[in-house]
Chain length 539, copies 2
């Protein structure tokens, strides 16, 4: 029932191969960097070759219209899209595959499925686009944790914009709609959500909400949270519907307990979302900084000054170069303002004055009014294209025995320099030990008045058969540095299974106790996504 | 131990009487409006005359250094500052008075007090400034709900700014600091919180957080929520401390379950707050609209356009006039922009163009740069002064047998006209029935892209001895209209005891079940503020 062009082993669709000339450039860069050429790309295992257990659940007759145990469907729902997912998939290890995959046609199907699962003693994993990089949709591996069996509940058929309120500029949207389909349905009405995570093409509204995804805006509206007006959630204990309220002060905000719940409370079937008018005025520029910390200081002043750039990504020089942008000598701040109503030239100029005060050298400003076409100078546009293609490249690097992954965090401006030094030291020591060499680069994805979200990319020459252990060791080292320096284990990648130990260590024990109690109130048998956020034995 | 100048029967301090000439104006207005002159002001009962039960708890020897059973302290902690509080206080009914009042000197005192209360079977009511208008700090009246006795825990001694992070522009603040003391401690550092609820002078940081107070900004940062970076809460099960994170995507946001918890989970002892630089550029104007709905349409476009005015209060003509501002013929939009860094003239002009498109006629623009003095034109300044004095006037009206109270809500732009008509119809019918006449006026306090927060003022000629029943009937009628039209029972006045039935009706049953479960996790004996938010028997 699933689009069979979707890769079960990595990012995206089979038809969309990473361009060979660009792959050659990446090879050349890495060969120069590490002194040895990456290995040839190993082959992708065929569907038949995957190691997968026989399902422990039979398709229930009453649900046969939307439940399958087909091999492809189970394979494509086994892993998310992290480096460690790709490596395991390339190795053909599909042991955790769900026993069944459900494609509910409507909310009634979901209610019926949860009822059946509760009676059968099975566990249920809500699935949006499957783009998690933290094991958020990965079934438990151990037989005990799988109970009677695992059913993955894929929302892809709930893909409609159901209602638009033009006066309040909101839309009622089903949880399973993918980014491009959402924008396509909004555009004829003159609206856009403008929530563009890197996973945009292969992630859903429900997934964004369940994981508190980070989006397009570098300031102000950094997470999907800001666009959620109300929510509808199907839980094992019934349906939870919040009201449409622009603001509310009645008790703790209902939606905020559901935002970030990662499927452990229930299935997000609908949301009213706040929309944007399509921007018609844009002003952008790329600013070069010789010193990264000077660029960071400019970002801080931009974030505290109230100009609210839509885009303000500070990218370390080596990362910019690897992505085919920048000059390799300077760090690059991609700066952009946008509005549906007002020229943004003055704001851009004010921002450039801030940058200049910190030694930032502005490239050619790119200003367009009365156009709904995207606008950016050549470097920025190059970077954006590379940004969207990056997951494809990452997968090819995995096939070349490289270790290639990202991680992100958030911290105060005051804490950043010490944190950054600690993260880099931890990464370099671990990469040296595990791989003999390695590269770590940083960009800022989102800016706040009180801090920023640094996003790190790691590339190291891995070893066939050891890639997983190598990355796990590096990840443990950098995560240790994040925890030691009070930075969050994730700003917008969510917790899933992979970040769970750090989440349990970082969040207040009493907060976790309240979350556990809240879960027990709507999922008394603990069938919803056990092992994500909370340990399965705590459910 | 409490500042003995504070009124136990109404708003503020004894020294700050409402100016007699302005009271005469109010009398004249009401006489003209209702055809009969309001009664003479009834006397305020003396402390000795108050009807108060003997305390059922003795001051525990171990806590005697900060706990008292003194009559004044019990009286001043009996009620909040709603109209129904003032009427009951003027009647001398102090039956619900707490048995003891605690003034902890530090967090250790709070821990000791909660321990003692749990052992004694007593209930604890956290108390900030006591400015609640929803019964948020009122002790239970029934003997059963009071258990062994009631202790009010007044945070007023925890009144310090403990730490300032200049790089991240944040301060660590104790929960008991009052608005003016907070600003006084921040000002030497060049900072301000700029959270100015009407209760500013007599409310605290902890109270703002516990009730999700609405503040100064009409757009963008409408609630205190937006300024809270991290929180510290003492619960019966221990201390809960969240981390300082500008943004975070790890699970449901911890702080959001504590924001709005109204003392039922624990006591807010500290918070890291995001600060503002003191504004140096201001641009403001008063705009007249002949038609309120045209003004509302202008507000909608302002809210959706991304100009982010700091002030944008649309005030109905009769309310403006009663407050001593406006010409009585036109509705009035008080519009203001501010920034620490950039001139706001262009933004004001863009906003005035929006207003003009809806028939808004701008008064003289008032623009000041490089000054930290407040700036507004005469009408706006008049209105602001009246705004801060309004609670004093309300109390004098209560003494004249009037019914005088406010209520507020939030709804989408699409829903507003129908809601507004229903609210006014319900209010007029109830006022006619109960009082023979009455006035209801509206202003918008906060604007959102998807809706607004309408704030209603009700004044009706009441009857001595029946004021409480009269207001309760009017409140029930308008609350019924809010519920029937899916508007929230409160945008920023909180739930307390008075809104509890509507809160329980409006919030999703499963949300309430999760909140109850969360409370049980940190307050297993249900000693924290029972009867607020949740019914006491549900604790």
């Amino acid at each position: 029932m699933f689009n069979t062009d979707r890769r079960y082993w990595g990012w995206g669709v089979n038809g969309n191969a990473f361009p060979e000339p660009m792959l050659q450039l990446a090879r050349a860069f890495l060969t120069a960097k590490f002194g040895t050429a990456p290995a040839a790309q190993r082959p992708v295992p065929s569907l038949d070759a995957l190691r997968m257990n026989a399902p422990t659940l039979a398709v229930p007759a009453a649900l046969a219209a939307f439940v399958t145990d087909a091999r492809y469907d189970r394979a494509v729902h086994t892993y998310g899209k992290a480096f460690r997912d790709v490596v395991r998939a390339l190795d053909g290890d599909f042991t955790p595959a769900p026993d069944l995959v459900a494609y509910p046609r409507d909310e009634q199907d979901i209610v019926a499925l949860l009822d059946w699962a509760a009676r059968a003693g099975a566990v249920v994993i809500p699935f949006g686009g499957g783009s998690t990089v933290v094991g958020g949709i990965e079934p438990p591996r151990e037989a005990g944790a799988r109970r009677a069996g695992v059913i993955t509940l894929d929302l892809c058929r709930l893909d409609q914009v159901l209602d638009i309120d033009r006066v309040s500029r909101c839309a009622r949207v089903q949880g399973g709609v993918y980014g491009p389909a959402l924008e396509a349905q909004l555009k004829p009405h003159g609206y856009t959500l403008r929530h563009f995570p890197q996973s945009f093409e292969f992630s859903t509204v429900g997934g964004w909400i369940a994981t508190r995804a980070g989006g397009h805006y570098a300031t102000l509206y950094t997470h999907i949270d800001d666009f959620v007006e109300s929510l509808r959630l199907v839980t094992p204990a019934g349906v939870l519907q919040t009201r449409r309220l622009p603001g509310n002060g009645a008790g703790p905000q209902e939606e905020r307990l559901l935002l970030g719940s990662e499927g452990v409370l229930g299935v997000i079937t609908e949301a009213w979302l706040r929309l944007q008018d399509i921007p018609r005025h844009r002003a952008g520029c790329t600013v070069k900084f010789a010193d990264f910390m000077a660029g960071a200081a400019a970002c801080r002043e931009l974030a505290q000054g109230g100009l609210f750039p839509a885009n303000a990504r500070l990218i370390e020089r080596e990362e910019a170069m690897f992505m085919g942008a920048g000059d390799g000598q300077n760090h690059m701040l991609v700066l952009g303002f946008e509005s549906a109503r007002y020229s943004q030239i003055d704001r851009l100029q004010a921002a450039l004055a801030v940058c200049a005060a910190y030694g930032g050298v502005a490239g050619k400003s790119n200003v367009r009014d009365d156009s709904d076409a995207a606008s950016a100078d050549a470097s920025a546009e190059q970077w954006k294209q590379s940004f969207l293609r990056a997951p494809y490249l990452r997968d090819e690097l995995a096939r070349m025995d490289m270790v290639s992954e990202t991680f992100e965090t958030c911290t105060t401006w005051e804490n950043f320099p010490v944190l950054d030094a600690a993260v880099r030291a931890a990464a370099h020591a671990a990469m040296q030990r595990e791989c003999g060499a390695g590269l770590i680069t940083c960009r800022f994805t989102h800016l706040y008045p009180d801090g920023q979200a640094p996003y790190y990319t790691v590339i190291a020459p891995g070893t066939a058969g050891r890639q997983l252990a190598q990355w796990d060791a590096i990840k443990a080292a950098v995560s240790g540095a994040l925890v030691a320096h009070n930075a969050t284990i994730t700003h917008h990648h969510a917790v899933g299974r992979d970040h769970r130990p750090y989440y349990l260590q970082q969040n207040a024990p009493l907060s976790l106790a309240m979350l556990r109690a809240a879960k027990a109130a709507v999922d008394p048998q603990g069938i919803m996504n056990p092992g994500v956020l909370l340990p399965p034995d705590q459910d």
